[in-house]
């Protein structure tokens, strides 16, 4: 039109269609993606002090499994998850607590009295009584509760546990 505008009517319609379509698509598409990944954006990993029982109840030197249940609201439903730790009482006043979750792919390890090792049923990982890797695929020792994350108050052993 009069040479001042170099865009034809047809091209203008095309451009307008793509622009309006793109804006509408983004206005619905971006919220759509956020909707899908919403659970990943929730703050997870609640923490709490979990009492494991009086220290005197544990036999010195022998790893003992202690299990506890934590409930969590996922979506509209409350889910109970069971967790376990091994308590190794070192002396009258000292204890070491190890997570029973294999550091390879999160299966639960068992204490084998004969072999004096924790053995993972999934991929035959073995850990020493102190949690060090003896064999198999795990990249690091079993998670330990010690120092700040462990306390003994009035004879009761507790760990500072974080979910997830």
């Amino acid at each position: 039109m009069a040479g001042s505008h170099h865009i034809s009517r047809r091209d203008f319609i095309k451009l307008a269609t793509v622009t309006v379509g793109g804006v509408i698509g983004a206005a619905v598409g971006i919220p759509g993606i956020i909707y899908l990944v919403d659970p990943a954006m929730e703050a997870g990993g609640k923490d709490a002090w979990i009492p494991l029982g009086p220290l005197e109840n544990f036999e010195i030197g022998k790893p003992t499994l202690v299990t506890f249940v934590r409930t969590q609201v996922n979506g509209w439903e409350k889910t109970s998850n069971s967790y376990g730790v091994f308590v190794i009482r070192k002396s009258e006043e000292e204890a070491l607590v190890l997570s029973n979750r294999c550091t390879h792919l999160s299966c639960r390890v068992n204490w084998n009295e004969e072999k004096q090792a924790y053995i993972c049923p999934c991929h035959d990982a073995t850990f020493s009584p102190e949690g060090e890797v003896l064999g198999g695929p795990p990249p690091r020792p079993l998670d330990r509760y010690e120092g700040e994350s462990l306390k003994i108050e009035e004879g009761v052993l507790s760990i500072h546990f974080t979910e997830g």
Partner: protein, 223 residues
């Protein structure tokens, strides 16, 4: 240089897929003089695709069981970010789709576009209208609230009033004598699998016939 690569790539695919022919047949076909009433079919198709997409998104959280259906929708509306938007589009889009499909039918009737050679396009269109209403009916139960429950009680009771076969139809629809978990799960199955698949197939034939015959011209004084 990028343009050259793009052209080469496009030509490679075009030779094998016939993209240009496809484009010409579907989007660049000759039309009679423009008329907004002729866009209602495309509007119906757009709404169908939109309902399909938002519906798929809803199934990510929705759970079709009497124990969870209501709570899962409450969660979509209040717990999930933009859940209100996805469900809102699906909810209002459903009513809009019924309206647009119905007006589309009225337009075809008013312009006598159902005549030779388009009788089958019309008949399939009738099937599409009924399926759309079926989608509305089955989707209405899924929130499992009071309105949904009693609307389905009444709706299935109407189907149950058919002479002789009524009781059989009623029990087949409800999956029992009264509304129960089976009703909800079979309505859900119909709503997300059976009816959409039938709709998709019939829409395909409907569109094929439209492309084959072209749009009908509006009748003039001579007709």
């Amino acid at each position: 240089m990028w343009k050259k690569i793009w052209t080469k790539l496009f030509t490679w695919f075009d030779e094998r897929l016939g993209l240009n022919d496809l484009y010409k047949a579907t989007l660049d076909r000759p039309e009679p003089r423009g008329n907004w009433w002729n866009t209602l079919g495309s509007a119906s198709l757009f709404l169908f695709v939109m309902q399909g997409l938002t519906g798929i998104f809803l199934t990510v959280y929705y759970t079709p069981s009497p124990d969870h259906a209501y709570d899962s929708i409450q969660y979509i509306m209040t717990g999930v970010q933009f859940g209100w938007l996805i469900r809102g589009i699906h909810h209002w889009g459903a009513s809009l789709m019924v309206m647009v499909v119905f007006i589309h039918m009225l337009r075809v009737f008013a312009t006598a576009s159902y005549k030779y050679p388009r009788e089958l396009t019309w008949l399939i269109g009738v099937g599409l209208l009924l399926l759309t209403l079926g989608m509305g009916f089955t989707g209405y139960l899924l929130p499992w609230n009071q309105k949904a429950y009693w609307a389905t009680t009444v709706g299935t009771a109407i189907a149950g009033s058919v002479p002789w076969a009524g009781e059989f139809i009623l029990k087949a629809l409800r999956g029992g004598t009264d509304l129960n978990a089976l009703t909800l799960s079979r309505f859900f199955s119909a709503h997300i699998w059976i009816l959409p698949l039938l709709l998709t197939g019939l829409i395909g034939v409907h569109i094929f016939l439209i492309i084959k015959h072209g749009e009908s011209a509006f009748p003039d004084k001579e007709d």
